[in-house]
């Protein structure tokens, strides 16, 4: 009988088709895009292979490295059983005295002591002030930590389970937990006057007591979700939205002060948090443009088209505005020069690798982790990459 044979052939044909769909169009695995932090001549960054590394900023030598336990998760698609993958890190390390704090995509916050790590002692060394906190919800995938905030004696952590946690900085004890959203929280809270402000994917800005985690009376609701972490400047919150606008919301107000662009929306989302300096908001957009906007009125002062998506937040160093686009070109605008007011970069420096991570700048140098898992140190005066180091450990 031919019909069953044909059906059988169809079944056989179906399998590779679906397999192809898994490979070419399914979910991209979480690789992470940890940002860089510099403290006392050491660069701290999370790597693609799930490690936190400390690199000497003068020599480029590895000071220490700590491998986070890999994630074990049920596989999807046609593979059976469990798979093991390096722990993704999206969070930027926060350094406070001799401790490096970092949140991981498998729902942990780690406090790493520099001395203990340089001696490669087992983790955590409590006598050195090390601790590890695991998000207390069962499904580790839903606890991913993408951003956090360190203030005084507490760390505030946003989790993919929709909760904000406050942890004691010294011991990692949980002070409070606040369930604010049914959606994942991938944005970092911001603090002002003992109040935390959190922007959510379901389009809210919530105000929480930093002391207790209780929701305060004021919240703001937008029609679309918020894509970026909020930034606060003179009691106004600036935040990017999935509806392709940047919003300015005065704390306590139910209506936005303005939204940018004023007429039709931008070409894509304002994914990266903007920065505000001397009354001007600098915002990078996934449409490849950098916008300078009057903070009070929302009027555009200038724009610059980088041509590639801007994923990382801009950084200010003295009078220099530093922007990277996703293709790995660093644009430096000298805000004291006349050209900057026309949106013309003073320096354009390609590093030769894609960039999605947040980056930092200090003393004329910009520290960038590329998607190729290399650390690039860009010398602005020199106008090029001063040195780079491969963050992947050779087996």
């Amino acid at each position: 009988m031919k019909q069953p044979k044909i059906l059988f052939l169809v079944i056989i044909a179906l399998l590779p088709l679906i397999l192809v769909s898994c490979i070419s169009g399914g979910a991209q695995s979480a690789r992470g895009w940890s940002g860089t932090a510099v403290h006392d001549g050491i660069i701290y960054v999370g790597t693609v292979d799930g490690r936190v590394v400390a690199i000497n900023s003068s020599t480029g030598n590895l000071e220490w490295s700590y491998s986070i336990a890999p994630v074990t998760a049920p596989s999807s698609g046609f593979s059976c059983g469990q798979t093991s993958a390096p722990t993704a890190i999206y969070d930027t390390p926060v350094v406070d005295r001799d401790i490096v704090y970092i949140g991981t995509y498998n729902g942990q916050v780690l406090a790493l002591n520099m001395l203990a790590r340089s001696q490669n002692l087992s983790f955590p060394q409590k006598r050195y002030g090390e601790w590890e906190w695991d998000c207390p919800i069962e499904n580790a995938r839903s606890n991913a930590i993408v951003a956090d905030l360190l203030v005084k004696d507490a760390i505030y952590v946003s989790s993919s389970n929709g909760r904000v946690y406050s942890l004691d900085k010294e011991f990692g004890d949980e002070k409070w937990e606040s369930n604010i959203s049914d959606e994942k929280l991938w944005t970092s809270p911001k603090i002002q006057s003992d109040t935390l402000y959190v922007s959510t994917f379901d389009g809210h800005i919530y105000a929480l007591s930093a002391e207790t985690g209780k929701l305060l009376d004021w919240s703001f609701k937008s029609q679309a979700g918020f894509a970026s972490s909020p930034v606060i400047y003179e009691d106004i919150i600036y935040v990017g939205s999935f509806d392709r606008y940047l919003y300015a919301v005065e704390i306590g107000s139910a209506e936005p002060e303005w939204r940018f662009p004023q007429e039709k929306p931008a070409g894509n989302w304002f994914w990266a948090s903007p920065i505000v300096n001397e009354g001007i908001v600098y915002a990078g957009c996934l449409d490849g443009r950098v916008y300078a906007i009057e903070a009070k009125t929302g009027e555009k002062l200038w724009e610059f088209d980088a041509g590639n998506s801007i994923v990382s937040s801009p950084v200010l160093m003295d009078n220099l505005l530093i922007v990277t686009d996703e293709s790995g070109t660093v644009y430096v605008f000298d805000l004291s020069a006349e050209l900057a007011n026309e949106g013309v970069p003073w320096r354009t420096i390609p590093i030769g690798a894609d960039v999605r991570s947040s980056f930092c700048a200090q003393e004329g140098l910009v520290y960038i982790r590329g998607e190729d898992n290399q650390l690039y140190v860009v010398d602005i005066d020199m106008g090029g990459v001063s040195w780079k180091v491969n963050l992947t450990i050779e087996e």
């Binding site: 169009g25 991209q28 999807s76 049914d182």
Partner: protein, 248 residues
């Protein structure tokens, strides 16, 4: 332009954007959007489905003649095949016509799988990638990000309770049983029975492996198929039919 670029331009991105737009129209429910898309796909493929159902109905009507031929030429398979082909030709039936609606749906399945994984944005990389694939329609951008919750399901993950696997397998079995003509020859009957079980089992298994959003599409598609078959062919078809080998 590579094959993948063409694929996303013509099928992948339109399915993704339509799905997200439907989700916004249906109170932000991605599950309802998948159901609505299933209905749209079934409506688009209706001419093919109708042809398939008509073939199925004609095959059903021809059963006495087919059984007669099977009895007459049961031992001479080549002759039986020739006579069957002649019979189909005379009646203007293509017995493989039932495969076309399924083949048409293959690209939709793949696009839907990709759309679900992308729209659910289970990782920050996926969410960033999604930004590059969305149209500038307000209705699409206001729907982002989507909620993956629907009934007991997380549409981006397989159903952990096996309920959807049973529904997908069960409805597929019923749908196939309604159209698959029983064979007289015991060996053929055994092959038919195996095939009747194989597809539902395979799709039940796939349901355990793939996001439940895709399985929801399969389940709804099967249910619509059963309903349309019931009304077009005027009943449960071969579901209530006892093959001669069973009756003897």
């Amino acid at each position: 332009m590579s094959f993948l670029d063409v694929w996303y331009l013509i099928i992948g991105n339109p399915v993704l954007n339509v799905l997200i737009a439907l989700s916004h129209l249906l109170s932000g429910s991605f599950g309802l959007a998948i159901i609505a898309l299933t209905i749209i796909v079934r409506l688009i493929s209706w001419p093919l489905t109708k042809r398939q159902l008509n073939s199925s109905r004609a095959l059903q009507d021809m059963q006495p003649k087919i059984q007669e031929l099977q009895k007459k030429y049961g031992k001479n398979k080549q002759k039986l095949q020739q006579e069957m082909t002649k019979l189909y030709k005379e009646a203007g039936i293509n017995p493989l016509g039932c495969l076309w609606p399924m083949l048409v749906q293959f690209p939709i399945w793949i696009a839907l799988y990709q759309a679900i994984m992308r729209a659910m944005a289970t990782t920050p990389e996926n969410l960033l990638d999604l930004a590059q694939r969305l149209y500038s329609w307000d209705i699409v951008n206001q729907a982002i990000p989507l909620s993956s919750k629907f009934l007991w399901l997380d549409l981006g993950q397989p159903d952990p309770y096996f309920i959807l696997a049973i529904i997908v397998g069960g409805t597929m079995w019923i749908q196939q049983k309604m159209t698959q003509a029983p064979a007289v020859d015991p060996r053929q009957a055994s092959t038919s029975r195996m095939m009747l079980l194989m597809m539902p089992l395979m799709f039940g298994f796939l349901t355990l492996m793939f996001p439940s959003g895709l399985a929801l599409y399969w389940a709804v598609s099967n249910i619509i198929g059963i309903i349309t078959q019931y009304f077009v062919t005027g009943g449960w078809g071969y579901l209530k039919f006892r093959s001669p080998s069973q009756s003897t």
